[in-house]
Amino acid sequence: MRELCRAFLHRLASLFRRRHLEADLDAELRSHLEMAVEGNLCQGMSPEQAHRQALLELGGIEQTKEIYREQRGLPMIETTLQDLRFGFRILRRSPGFSVMAVLCLTLGIGANAAVFSWVEGILFRPYPAVSHQEQLLALTGTARAESGPTDISWPDLLDLQRSCTLIDSFIVSKIMGTTLSNGDRAEVMVGSIVSANYFDAIGVHPILGRGFEPGEDSGRNAHPVTVISFQLWQGRFKGDPQIIGKTQRLNNVEHTIVGVMPDGFYGTFVGWAVQFWVPASMEENFEAGGYKLEDRSARWIEAYVRLKPGVTRAQAQQEISAVARRLEADYPETNRGRGIKLWPLWQTPFNNSGTLLPTLEIMVAVVVFVLLITCANVGNLLLVRSFARRHEMTVRLAIGAGRGRLLKQLLTEGLILSAFGAAGGLVATHWCSHALVLLFPARGGVAMHLPGEIDWRVLAMSAGVCLLATLVLGLVPAMQIGKIDVAAALKSDSAGVLGGGAKAWARSGLVMVQVSLSFVLLVGAGLLLQSLQKIRNTSPGFSTHEVLDTAVNLVPAGYDAQRAQNFQDELLERVKALPGVESAAFARMTPLSYRSFSSTPIAVDGYQHPSEEQPTVQYNEVGPDYFVTMGIPLLSGREFTRADDEKAALVAVVNETMAAQYWRGRNPIGERVQVEGRWMQVVGVAMDSKYESVREAPKPFFYVPLRQNFDRSAGLYIRTPLSPETMATALAREVHALDPDLALYEVITLQEELDRSTSPQKVALTLVGVLGALALLLAAIGLYGVISFAVSQSSRELGLRMALGADASNLLRLVISRGLTLTGGGVLLGTAAALALTRLLGNLLYKVSPRDPLAFGSALVVMTIASLAACILPGWRAARTDPARVLRH
């Protein structure tokens, strides 16, 4: 064994001393020959004879050297190095081809790796620091009366925790925005309200201090402690090593900093980087709606569970559902019709992984298309080149190269190309991995956090793509090595005749595939564009351009209800007095923002709901002048005034759909509606508008006066022709004049709010559009290559036709019709594929059928124009064929 090692090292070392060893061998053999010749001379041979005999006995100098070299070095490595050197030289000799192929591969591999890194980072391993993410599931409530998932109440969660045996831990993490004040600076930051087991259960441990201790999540406001993120520690506290035990004001309550989390831990919410954590006992300080830890009807928790090892989601769901049914029976007044549901992490409904899922699915489909197109294009490039190298291959075979050796050489060239492509792709991925967030605007001054995760899976994927590409690249010219008949090929090559119907077919096939794939992308882009257009043109039912939206959050500043009301009244007066302001109003929620409206069970005199449950309707709390300010027309009745305050009779405004559904054509004005046990009189009917999404169908909705249902976190809406920037300065001045400690949120138009709500469509459109254009370009290049090659190949035929009387326009038509035939075949294939695939766009499409003829038609037009453009140049060249010259050869 030691001997073998020694021998191997010896051989390896020899690779680096080749020149010296060669000289040595040369000298040794020379001295051998000289001695042999001398000996022979002594035996009386003539000088020539002596020399010949010596060589004969040695067995030839070159032959000896060759077997000696094999023993000396590592032949495998040496030939590989040789292949590499030769490969580089060959690729350098045709830079156009090499650059094109490497660019194609970079694009294909890069786009794939980038998108898969997003998928990885957002869907599959969203929380890199968290241990065993595969055991984590998201937990939400369900309600028979509501379509989507609901939050969970704290008492329900505690009951689940006590009763479920298959679940290791229940992990509460409720995201919230908070004003963090530190001296004169006040910033909006993202924090999270968590259960005391949070850090232990997710397996992330503080680098300084401690996490939360058991029991710190119980007792009303009993544990004002906080754990901060590494970024916050480094940024705001400048890495202070003595940070533990210091205090920080959060929402006006001093919290003791007990721990610092490690770098790279951003909490457990896809989309935002959490900066600090507080235990659930402090919930009241951060959440609207008062103390909720003992209130089973207050549903506010977003949670995860960690399964015990070996437990499946189905098993856990079964157990949880059983507990939920028991809770339903035990607490009918709060839990009737309610269940609990487990979700795989990548479908988490309460963070951005749910919103991004459809977009990411489309991205994956699109990049797979791009990869296929890339492979087709590179394959095509190689086919063209294989004709150019046919002669070279034949010569190499003729002078004795083994077919295996040639194959190895070709594979090495492919490997070089794809290695460059993969390297370029990885660089591109690195740049792109954090680029997704650029497509999403910051909200409320806090930037989104959507990191890509490049890890071994992404790398393995790229390597796989690379290998596939190598095979495709290597095998294309290799396929014909086997077929070359050396003697015939040497003869016929010199005559310049190129046959190969099968190869022409392969090239045409590849072009058709390219055309069809880019056709599908074009159709997809067309459909998305139309959807976006339709969304843009859909009226949300309120004015978007001249209405601004902002907020002053009074909760963090420690305002109580009375003080907050006074502040709002005063601010409203001041704002209305500003030049350019037409009207202004407070309201709790902004339509089409990412939050959802509260909903409540209602009852209406004389209305019997089809099912037993009480119907639930969403509502908003709005101040006087809200409808005027928002531009929502009232169909009848009046809007709220300052008189509709705490002391006045309870009133409500309902929308058209609600009026139609619950009063069935009767005028609801003057009728009563019961909300949470309180009867309100309907005073107005407002036109339907969009509430949570532009794409939603009309739904029942009602409004109640803000004063009668006060909320301190209301937003301010201002109707003005002035720009948000101008208004922001004036507003900040007014707010500051009232209370210098208050911070104003960003001031944006409702149009901006609307645009943000369509960002998934825009991201998808941008991606499909850009990649579709690229695919079109690649397909056009492929088509150009095939057609111009066909033209150069059939110059004799063209010349003959011309000699027989065809004129230039005939030949042009001939070439173009050949190109269009290929395009037509591709489009047919593409249409079939698109009909099957556009359904994937599913809910990104709005009021557009996946088989929309306009999208298909325009894709056809674009494709035809592109292929005409690709055929013009070769056609023109064909038309200029000189019959005399061509036929002479």
Binding site: L25, S31, M35, G39, E57, T64, Y68
Partner: protein
């Protein structure tokens, strides 16, 4: 040319080279070739070229070392000499050979 010449058996060249070096002391390649042919009374057909890869192989395994020197008739030549490992190797291989040939002889005679 009347007497039939034998080819060197696969794997025995190393043994021949080691033995030659043991009995003759440091020698160059040509010397080794001549010596083997002399000792075998020219019955062995040795392709002298194959000697060099064999010497290299032995050197790689540490059985011999080489050094440039001056030959008896004043020429530059590369001299090979046996190492301690080489002697051990020779002893082992010689013993192997004896056992092997004895066994083959027995088989040939009995059948």
């Amino acid at each position: 040319m009347a007497s039939p010449k034998s080819e060197v058996l696969q794997g025995t060249l190393d043994l021949l080279v080691l033995k030659t070096l043991e009995s003759m002391g440091p020698m160059h390649g040509f010397g080794i070739a001549v010596r083997i042919q002399q000792v075998s009374e020219d019955l062995l057909q040795l392709n002298q070229g194959t000697l060099y890869p064999a010497l290299l192989r032995l050197e790689q395994r540490g059985c011999v070392v080489s050094k440039w020197g001056i030959s008896e008739n004043n020429r530059n030549a590369k001299f090979y000499s046996l190492t301690r490992a080489g002697r051990k190797q020779l002893a082992e291989e010689a013993e192997n050979w004896d056992r092997m040939s004895a066994m083959i002889n027995r088989v040939l005679r009995t059948s």
